[in-house]
Amino acid sequence: MSTPVKQTSATPLGRPHAGVGDRFRLWWNAQSRPAQWAFGVPFILFIALVPILNIPVLTTVGTNFGAVMAQFGMIALIAIGLNVVVGQAGLLDLGYVGFYAVGAYTVALLTSPDSPWNQTGEGNWLSQDWAWLAVLPVAVCITAISGLLLGSPTLRLRGDYLAIVTLGFGEIVRLLADNLGEITGGGRGLSQVAYPQLGQTEANPGGLFSAGNVAGRINSGVWWFWLSLVLIMVVLLFVGNLERSRVGRAWVAIREDEDAAEIMGVPTFKFKLWAFTIGAAIGGLSGALYAGQVQFVTPTNFNVINSVLFLCAVVLGGQGNKLGVILGAFIIVYLPNFFLGRTDLFGIPINGNEIANYRYLFFGLALMVLMIFRPQGLLPARQKLLTYGRQLYVAARRTAKRQHGDAGTGDQHGTTGAEEVSR
């Protein structure tokens, strides 16, 4: 079993340039917390305002940009959740749409008048006004449990076997929704699902989140986008906390070398299960948003293709990078809508619908080309795994600066072990 391993301490071959992203990252890390807030808050505000600023070219023509952004918000949540599973823990999940479906159906089953389990309305315990909000945590919990149920027997499988089992799970969820017609309505779906009741006025009897709120620029889509933006930030905060903790480190360790992680004392199975459960919960959250926004769920929205698209969002954006996967989600949602109904682009007349017909062709080509030339995704992962690592990064940057200032001492790598040990 003995194998000679890599050879002795060698000098790194040259010193490549740090990319723009890395420079930005270094710069960002060097800022103080208040400075980070000072830059971050206006940026997030800008993102939030994008759907109502009506930026030419960016704004979609054939579909409502606010509503597209709302869908983007949901898919971004999905991507963040899937990123925990695929990007961080390295578990290939091809049936993630199943969790999205469980979340959506939980909300629909409990609040749609078409459902035999409807809990709203006369004589039931869910008040119409609070129904959606009350069911939201239920949906998240149930989805988390479904993740746990799927994960505990299957996470002992590895790699491709896990992939196909999850794919099977996703399909089974959809088929159940389809076949258990007496409960889920089958192909007829469940309509009039509850949504947040807020800001009812004479003009807007359904409230701000009602699909009927289309007056003006700030329509229901924008409200849903804002709601998902808030949820994204909360989820990012939690997921970020996890990433910079023992849990996140365990996930990355499992991804890198599961056996080594186990031997270093990481309870790998437990943390894989956590990843699955957390990912599922986030998927369920997004599903609940979906059910609320569209107010109508049918099984067709939860097919394998969507699972694959979610995965594409993650890989496209850069697995392991939270902002990257959000960017990936934006591309996945936005691009198909971009050409719809567009009759000219930068003054050049085009037939948008005709082009939109070919969207999956272009999408497929883009995926292939991107994977060949940028396999790590648009924003490759640079995870930070330590809660109190900031001071270190700052110190590292200080020294790096010093090095750049003093080129002569810049090349001190490859020092022999003896020197370093004795230092």
Binding site: T63, D178, S191, V214, F296, T298
Partner: protein
């Protein structure tokens, strides 16, 4: 070295192909039941929506058989010659008015949306050609038939101030998801194809259905089957679509005891192999099979039924009422009954339509034309706002190519009639 053998194989096949191709065209031999004499293709829903391939299944076509009411009784068809013309009297004036069309224009469900759109465009052309001072525009909105996409499209329609009326959405699912939006905006929503009965029960005052719904089609067809056609046991097979499930429910209810629950089966859209269902039905030996679903599954289904030795009559509805059904099922389609709330296309219309769009009218093309005509006549009468148009449609009464249009308080047609077609 396998490269060389591969090349050899290629050459061989190429040679064989040439030889055999030279043998000339093959012709389909009679299989089982020989095909009967040809009949002129004048049917409403006849014509290929996408394929220019040679007509198949012998000379089979979908021909209108009879118009029936909710009790399955025959009703005299309106002649359609006194139909309101979209051209009006040519003196209309209007400015910057447009009509929206929402439905699947791309993606797998696009054919249906395009049928409606082309029907609308035919009407629009007649109108705009005749009325130089009233150039109306159709704005197309693609929903892909996806409810979530429809919720993204709907605000766009509503916020376009020039749109005073909407023809659509095309499917029931997306209508459910967007109904509130249009209702709240007070925008006329006139559908040429969404047949789910529940849609008019939501209290939307802007929603009108230009054809009979499934609650009419179901009982009407059921009564026709048990009555005029005299079938005593029927197997109801449905797909998993919104449409199929709803239709099967009303049909089963209408059939009553005639519906045999032991051979009621479910299939999935996208399925192509129905051997298990065929076996189930063969075992039940019914008089007829009712299929609630679309032609893409109905065609292989009926073909496999016939191969499986099931000779019972095959009955289906508007989802199957498409030339593709006949093309793909071939002689197996012969004798199939297809109901449709859609009316047959008169010859003159069919000719115009074909010359404009390069294909013969499909399902709901006539409805697209008729409903567009109603909206245009409203515009011609001087209406320029949404509320006015809703009001106009609510009080409208007039003859169309397919039927007479007049709506009740819920937005359903006052007299909902169903057409039975037969493949022959």
């Amino acid at each position: 070295m396998h490269r060389r053998s591969m090349r050899a194989a290629l050459v061989l096949v190429a040679a064989a192909t040439l030889t055999l191709a030279a043998c000339g065209d093959k012709s389909a031999g009679g299989s089982g039941s020989g095909s009967e004499s040809s009949s002129a293709a004048t049917s409403g829903a006849s014509g290929s929506s996408s394929s220019s391939a040679a007509p198949a299944g012998g000379d089979l076509a979908i021909n209108p058989l009879v118009q029936i009411d909710i009790d399955g009784n025959e009703v005299e068809a309106s002649t359609g010659t006194d139909a309101v013309s979209p051209a009006g009297d040519g003196s209309a004036t209007c400015d910057g008015v447009s009509v929206a069309m929402a439905g699947a224009l791309t993606g797998p469900n696009a054919a249906l949306g395009l049928n409606i759109l082309y029907g609308m465009q035919t009407a629009l052309k007649e109108h705009n050609d005749a009325n130089a001072n009233c150039q109306v525009e159709i704005k197309q909105f693609d929903t892909e038939g996806d409810p979530q996409k429809a919720t993204q499209v709907a605000p766009q329609i509503v916020s376009d101030a020039s749109v005073i009326g909407l023809l659509g959405p095309a499917f029931s699912g997306e209508t459910k998801a967007t109904g509130t939006i249009f209702s709240q905006a007070g925008l006329l929503s006139l559908t040429a194809s969404a047949t789910n009965p529940d849609l008019t029960a939501n209290g939307w005052t802007n929603f009108f259905r230009g054809l009979a719904n499934d609650a009419v089609q179901g009982p009407a067809v059921a009564k026709y089957l048990t009555g005029s056609a005299g079938f005593s046991t029927v197997c109801v097979v449905k797909d998993n679509s919104d449409y199929g499930v709803g239709l099967a429910e009303t049909i089963t209810e209408g059939l009553g005891d005639a519906a045999d629950p032991s051979c009621a089966a479910d299939v999935k859209t996208g399925d192509k192999d129905f051997s298990a269902t065929v076996q189930l039905i063969a075992g039940a030996e019914p008089d007829a099979i009712f299929y609630a679903g679309y032609y893409a599954e109905a065609a292989p289904f009926v073909a496999q039924l016939r191969e499986g030795g099931v000779e019972a009559a095959f009955v289906s509805a508007d989802g199957t009422n498409d030339p593709q059904f006949v093309d793909q099922a071939g002689s197996a389609a012969e004798g199939a009954y297809l109901s449709c709330p859609c009316g047959p296309a008169p010859e003159e219309f069919a000719a115009t339509y074909e010359s404009e769009h390069g294909q013969v009218p499909g399902v709901y093309s006539v409805e697209g034309y008729d409903l567009m005509t109603i909206i245009l006549s409203g515009i011609d009468s001087g209406i320029t706002d949404r509320a006015g148009l809703v009001e106009y449609v609510k009080n409208y009464q007039g003859q169309g190519l397919a039927r007479e249009y007049q709506w009740d308080d819920n937005g359903e047609l006052s007299s909902s009639l169903i057409w039975m077609y037969e493949v022959g």
